[in-house]
Amino acid sequence: MRAITMDRVESTRQEILNIITSPTLTHEQKLTNLAGQADSLLEVLDLPEGLEDLLAPVEGKQCICDLFEGHAPMRPRYIVPDYEKFMKEGSKFLQLEAPKDFFEALNHLLIMYKHVPSITNYPVYVGALDKLLEPFIDEVDEATAKKFIKMFLVHVDRTVLDSFSHANLGPEETKAGRIILECEEELEQAVPNITFKYDADVTPDAYAIRAIQTALKSAKPSFANHKMFAGELTEDYVIASCYNGLRYGGGSYTLCRLILGNIAKRAENIKDFKDRVLPYVMDIQARYMDARVRFIVEDSGFFENHFLAKEGFIHREKFTAMYGLVGLAEAVNILMEKEGKNGRYGQDTEADALGVEIMEQIRAFNDNHDAPYCEATGGHYLLHAQVGIAQDVGITPGTRIPIGEEPEELIDHLKHCSLFHKYFPSGTGDIFPVEVTASKNPEYILDIIKGAFRMDLRYLSFHDKNSDVIRVTGYLVKKSELEKFKAGQRVLQNTTHLGTGAAKNGHILERKVR
């Protein structure tokens, strides 16, 4: 382990004291932040030369961001346990046999959630709840089922303190799924985030409408293009965290992101960006991720010792990692300006074509980089359109069009999305607040989803512009909780803090209403 300076130790000590005395952090939030400070003092990773300069957190200059994963990752960033196996077999470590009835099934899941780690210390995936509960659903009458599912969902919302936690539904219609959708419409909660895997050939229209009605009220579920994900990741895929496509029983070791706008600033022109600057940064990010992956697999001891791995709820061979990017919009706009051109990303054909060329180059790079321990995804990382973090200023998530510059007509916005969604098997997505008139016509939304998925869009979210629960970038917050936090009160969920930053820096409350 490499030495560090006393200055760094002193500044970390000050940070630790700030966390301990913070008036707005809850106890759990303090513990998480303290752990982050502890591991920030370590220097054990084999870092590529040139990384430090690209990673330095200087606003407007940082080119690579490792999203708070710390200096010595002790577990994969995202973990996707095989909950079906748990429901069939129970767990020795948790001293639980397989659940015998509906009530035990709910209780088992709540217990398991407290033992699934992640970057946030909360489970980023809580299961395909419809499929997990359907075998038990007819043991009780519907009113009882609904009452207990509602209690279960409230329990999750108040104890899994993070809306990166994600449940999946569909594409098949189930009674359990319908009850969950009804409950979420009534509860209007931020946690868990929910994705509905939609396949027009499998999902009945009436069931999709049921899901849309819930989405308009509570900003979830979002809709994933089931055929597209299944084609890339096999049917054994899940949507976890914000909107991340991952293998079931696996997960993602790490996620780092290219900040493309800042990378473009270092280039003379488009040619220089493509020939010199971008390849240099892409290579360093890839090798940085390689080092993180190797530490988790070879040194951390996670896969040898954690009960999830030992009991076969996760398999190292099903893990991959996510090669992320943000700010394609800024990169394109900066490069167009350097070429003396006016066209802007999302509004101009030439600018959009440049965006596609950059994405093709990133895809080609990733396809040629041999990633360690990623046999689950062909020995390569998966591209990911990262949704941004609260601190991002002037950085648009993934390949989205900046808020305030969206095309006048939704059709043009969707066509733009169709150029870019296909590059990201490990996730991308766009968010559309809609007018009340659309809320009265859920078939309107269904037609858009059907058309979108035929046009290679991957992932769409809708909510009524007036709803309390809204989607920030990928995760959910309640506007009423944002107000409390802004007024200086403690709030339960970590993501409310992030949402406050995103509202200020990312203008997420100002999206164009459709």
């Binding site: 007509e409 939704l410 059709i411 969707l414 809609v434 007018e435 008139t437 659309a438 009265k440 016509n441 078939e443 309107y444 939304i445 269904l446 037609d447 858009i448 059907k450 058309g451 979108a452 035929r454 046009m455 459709r514």
Partner: protein
């Protein structure tokens, strides 16, 4: 010329298009492209888009008022002996949609209309595929252009699109069987039931409207009926009950959608902004009246 030639099927005719809304959530089921044609044959006091009523007379009053320079006057030769006439020309690229021209116009017209044929309108509709399930043509009064509708809808049907007409019912639908054959349904205004009420609201009698309602119901082409509720102009409850009795012989009115629209002053000409907007509780009372009359699919707006 053969016998067919003497009938001269009108094709490729151009119609005045007020606007095309690519995605509409409020003009029928699902997501639809809505096409609004210019010109109307009624004069409803509560009309909320009076600028769609008439065709531009090229007086030029709006040209100088346009802040974006999107309007200009050109001199065009007429057919006769080189005489020239003025025309107001609109440049959509410059328009900022501020509506100043519409507010300036004293003739219930708009200088922003585009004359388009069925192929041109179809090209605009196709841009939205596969995101839309259908097309709704409205107005103004789109039944002033039945040949255009027939041609457009026939082409829409080839593309698998659902087709709806939004009409005030003043043109006799039974005269256009070819159009009905390519039309999935009509959304029909029944603005009042008693003749004197209809005259008060619209300036015209409703004999053709009711005849159309019965005809379309019998043909299973009546997708929806609607009434704008203005208590000062007629008794809304009586209208609902009368329509139910009138249509019962022709269709199962339980299957018919009835849309009751509360009058709102937005867009209405100044001299008619005198009516009260009925509140939500009154509209709910009307829902009950409609339910008792036998309607089941009632939409309050």
């Amino acid at each position: 010329m053969d016998r067919k030639g003497t009938r001269m099927k009108k094709e490729n005719i151009k119609v005045p298009v007020n606007r095309i809304i690519p995605f509409s959530a409020v003009d029928g089921p699902g997501n639809r492209t809505a096409v609004f044609l210019q010109g109307c044959n009624l004069d409803c006091k509560y009309c909320h888009n009076p600028e769609t009523r008439a065709l531009c007379i090229h007086c030029g009053a709006c040209v100088g008022k346009c802040p974006a320079g999107a309007l200009s006057i050109v001199q065009e030769p007429t057919d006769t002996m080189g005489a020239k006439k003025s025309r107001v020309v609109f440049d959509p690229a410059k328009c900022v949609a501020c509506d100043t021209c519409i507010h300036t116009c004293k003739h219930d017209a708009s200088p922003r209309i585009q004359w388009m044929n069925a192929d041109e309108v179809l090209a605009e509709i196709q841009k939205q595929m596969p995101f839309i399930r259908g097309v709704t043509v409205s107005g103004g009064e789109c039944m002033l252009y039945p040949e255009f509708l027939t041609e457009l809808f026939a082409k829409c049907k080839e593309l698998g699109l659902h087709t709806l007409i939004d009409s005030n019912g003043m043109v006799d639908f039974s005269l256009y069987p070819d159009l009905l054959a390519v039309t999935d349904g009509v959304m029909l205004d029944i603005k009042a039931f008693r003749e004197e009420d209809h005259v008060r609201v619209t300036g015209s009698t409703n004999e053709t409207v009711l005849q159309n309602a019965a005809f379309l119901a019998g043909e299973d082409k009546l997708y929806e009926i609607r009434t704008v509720v203005v208590r000062e102009l007629f008794d809304p409850a009586e209208v609902i009950v009368s329509i139910a009795e009138f249509l019962r012989p022709f269709t199962d009115i339980g299957r018919l959608r009835y849309k009751l629209i509360a009058f709102r002053p937005f867009g209405v000409r100044e001299q008619y902004q005198i009516y009260e907007s009925p509140d939500a509780s009154y509209m709910q009372q009307l829902r009950l009246v409609a339910l008792q009359a036998g309607f089941k699919d009632i939409v309050i707006i």
